[in-house]
């Protein structure tokens, strides 16, 4: 066996690689990662751990999964897994279909070999090939390690493909709004070799459907119309737990949705502006939805609150009101409640509520390779189950004329199958 192959198949190498992956993932868990940690939280961690911050910056620990070091570890793991998978496949084939040296001799029994063979068959041992006296129980168990390792390899390969090619974009749309091809996304992620996700056609958010049960939202679905021509386009729906597949993309209904209050603001200096204050639907229908905003030129925080339900019934859009309050250092300096069409003054700003519309977040994803990931998952589970739940047990019968010699071996956990062997022996002894 060439040196390289021997190196990658050695137990020490395999264990070292697993430990390296484990170390990298653990560091990724202990050091906040830039791609999932907010800037404020990251800065807080940095200020609390200045010495760790220096080391983390040098070693790239804030983005450990995109460091060259992690890429090298992953490459070595893939090489080792690949070679190991091939070797294990060959070994599994040999063990399943070819003869192998007999296991530990158990005893000699004065019964014809065919009788002994019948007893083994009744104990669910399968003859591996005609003309041989080798029997195996659960021969599929030989393929456990192969399946487990192949599954991991397929998963890693598919994940790498996704990492470099994935395209994701999220957009918060008000009812009636359209996301045009090429328009910027509210949130975007793309693979290392992928460009920005561009929709093949416009998507218009036509409305939100909420289903309720036991005081909370049970289902959320968005009506979407595709196509440049509003009247001729196709209308369909994306819902939570029921994503929509359309034109090579998958469209998810985000968990963020609610009502947007469209206001017109006249500042004390006479500037007129419009804003849409989008508030999230509360988790329980009788609770309020909240959000914070900023009025341009106003140093105080604008806090908004609304109630989508009243007297146990959902409010119509024209009945919904929003309560706005200005706050400074946690203290309220003004409050205003508006219904559609109402206006009032808050902190010197004249605010008029024009209308209320539903809003929802839609997530557009283009992924290649996800089927590989799930195929890998299935192989991993099958492999682990075969390895630990169905270890093969082998029995050999050596014909010695008027008696037969029994040998037996278990690939794993031999002691746990001692009773099974004793049961076979007992039956052979009864046949005397």
């Amino acid at each position: 066996m060439p040196c390289t192959k021997r190196f990658f198949l050695s137990r020490t190498t395999i264990l070292s690689l697993i430990l390296l992956v484990l170390a990298a993932v653990t560091l990724g868990a202990l050091v906040p990662q830039k791609f999932i940690t907010g800037q404020v939280e990251l800065e807080k961690w940095r200020s609390l751990h200045p010495s760790l911050t220096r080391i983390s910056d040098q070693l790239g620990l804030f983005h450990i999964y995109t460091t060259p070091g992690f890429a090298v570890i992953l490459l070595l793991v893939c090489i080792s897994l690949g070679i190991s998978t091939v070797e294990q496949g060959k070994a599994a084939w040999r063990k399943t279909f070819n003869n192998s040296p007999a296991g530990e001799p158990v005893g000699a029994y004065p019964v014809p070999s065919e009788t002994a063979a019948q007893i083994l068959r009744e104990c669910r041992y399968i003859r591996t090939a005609p003309g041989t006296l080798r029997f195996v129980k659960n021969p599929w168990g030989y393929w456990g390690s192969f399946s487990l390792h192949l599954g991991m390899l397929v998963c890693i390969a598919a994940s790498l493909l996704i990492t470099v090619t994935q395209q994701r974009g999220s957009s918060d749309l008000l009812r009636g709004e359209t996301h045009l091809p090429g328009a910027p996304w509210e949130g975007e992620e793309r693979g290392l070799l992928a460009g920005t996700l561009v929709l093949p056609e416009p998507v218009r958010f036509e409305g939100l459907h909420l289903g309720y049960e036991r005081g909370s939202v049970k289902s959320v679905a968005s009506d979407l119309r595709f196509g440049a021509d509003g009247s001729a386009g196709t209308t369909t729906q994306a819902a939570i737990n029921a994503p929509l597949k359309h034109n090579g993309m998958t469209i998810y209904q985000g968990n963020e949705y609610g009502h947007a209050f469209i206001v017109e603001i006249l500042s004390p200096t006479g500037e007129l502006s419009r804003a849409a204050y989008s508030l999230r639907f509360p988790s329980r229908i009788h609770d309020a939805g909240y959000n914070d905003f900023r009025i341009p030129g106003e140093p105080r925080l604008l806090q908004a609150k609304y109630l989508p339900f009243a007297s146990g019934k959902p409010l119509a859009l024209h009945e919904m009101s929003v309560t706005l309050r200005l706050a400074e250092n946690g203290r309220e300096s003004g409050r205003l409640t508006l219904r559609p069409g109402d206006s009032g003054v808050l902190g010197g700003h004249r605010i008029r509520l024009l209308e209320v519309r539903e809003w929802g977040r839609l997530i557009f994803v283009r992924l290649q390779g996800i089927e590989g990931v799930f195929a890998g998952f299935l192989l991993i589970v099958i492999g682990a189950a075969l390895t630990y739940c169905t270890p093969p047990r082998e029995a050999w019968l050596i014909d010695q004329g008027e008696r037969v010699l029994l040998s037996w071996r278990s690939s794993r956990f031999a002691e746990l199958y001692r009773e099974e062997l004793e049961s076979v022996i007992h039956r052979l002894e009864q046949e005397r």
Binding site: I14, V25, S216, V220, I240, N241, T250, Y388, L416
Partner: protein, 276 residues
């Protein structure tokens, strides 16, 4: 506290009482080699499971979702599944009966801890309406059960290998057999943990298009799985056994508890949004 909640709490405390009785009877049976108390303890445990199960079902009817939202629900269902799975495994592998000396008290401790929490009604987030979530949660609970059994046998190994082991330990199977059961059930735990993790990935992909986001819960779950992978490799390829393997297993088990019970409360995790 309204009547429905009072009934739930009462049933839980009755179950705790029965579990405690089962634990004491079981310990007496095992430690003093008395077959009758040991057998009776299983009847008590079965009765406790029934009462406990009734409490879970009653609360399920009240809140309208399974026992996986509030901390009290999670701990309570973990306790129930741990003991129920043990009862099933005992039928398949009768020689694991001695593990009851750890499984029974672990069950009542989890339920007692659950009862310390306010059994608040949490609404089910919309994304939780998926069968993959059920698989995800169920297999983590089953995995916990097998890991507790493996923990029991790892502790038996350590106790039996002490210079002057307690006399009752001599009635357990020999060290190699006890060690083997620890290995076997760690293997089961590895499988179920893998299924749980992967079911969670499928659920996440169906819910928001991302099968893996390096969320703290996901990451620590992967760390746990890799650690168990190291344990199994050391066992199989380096023939680790006895004390070394037992101590290593204890460390793996501690990490699994962090993954199961601590990380879901980390603010930065998407799971924390649901368990506030």
């Amino acid at each position: 506290m309204d009547n429905q909640t009072a009934l739930y709490v009462t049933l839980n405390w009755i179950a705790v009482f029965l579990y405690v009785l089962a634990t004491i009877t079981n310990a007496v049976g095992i430690i003093f080699a008395r077959e009758l108390p040991e057998k009776r303890s299983y009847w008590l445990a079965a009765a406790a499971l029934l009462v406990h199960g009734a409490a879970i079902l009653h609360w399920w009817r009240i809140v309208g979702h399974g026992p996986y939202m509030a901390p009290s629900e999670v701990l309570s269902s973990d306790a129930w599944v741990t003991l129920a799975a043990f009862m099933v495994f005992v039928r398949i592998y009768p020689r694991i009966r001695p593990a009851s000396i750890l499984v029974f008290p672990a069950t009542f401790l989890m339920l007692a801890l659950a009862n310390m929490y306010n059994p608040g009604i949490r609404s089910l987030p919309t994304t939780f309406g998926s069968v993959w979530l059920i698989f995800h949660i169920a297999f983590y609970k089953i995995s916990l059960a097998t890991l507790v059994i493996a923990l029991a046998f790892s502790l038996f190994v350590l106790l039996k290998m002490r210079p002057n082991p307690a006399p009752w330990l001599a009635r357990l199977p020999e060290i190699p057999t006890v060690d083997l059961y620890a290995y076997r059930f760690a293997g089961f735990g590895f499988i179920f943990w893998a299924i749980a993790m992967l079911a969670g990935s499928i659920w996440a992909y169906r819910s928001w298009g991302r099968y893996w986001g390096w969320d703290p819960v996901e990451t620590w779950s992967l760390i746990t799985w890799l650690l168990f992978g190291v344990y199994l490799h050391l066992r199989h390829f380096f023939r680790w056994g006895g004390k070394r393997a037992a101590w290593f297993y204890l460390a793996c088990f501690a990490v699994s508890l962090v993954a199961l019970f601590v990380t879901s409360h980390m603010g930065s995790s998407i799971h924390a949004e649901y368990f506030k």
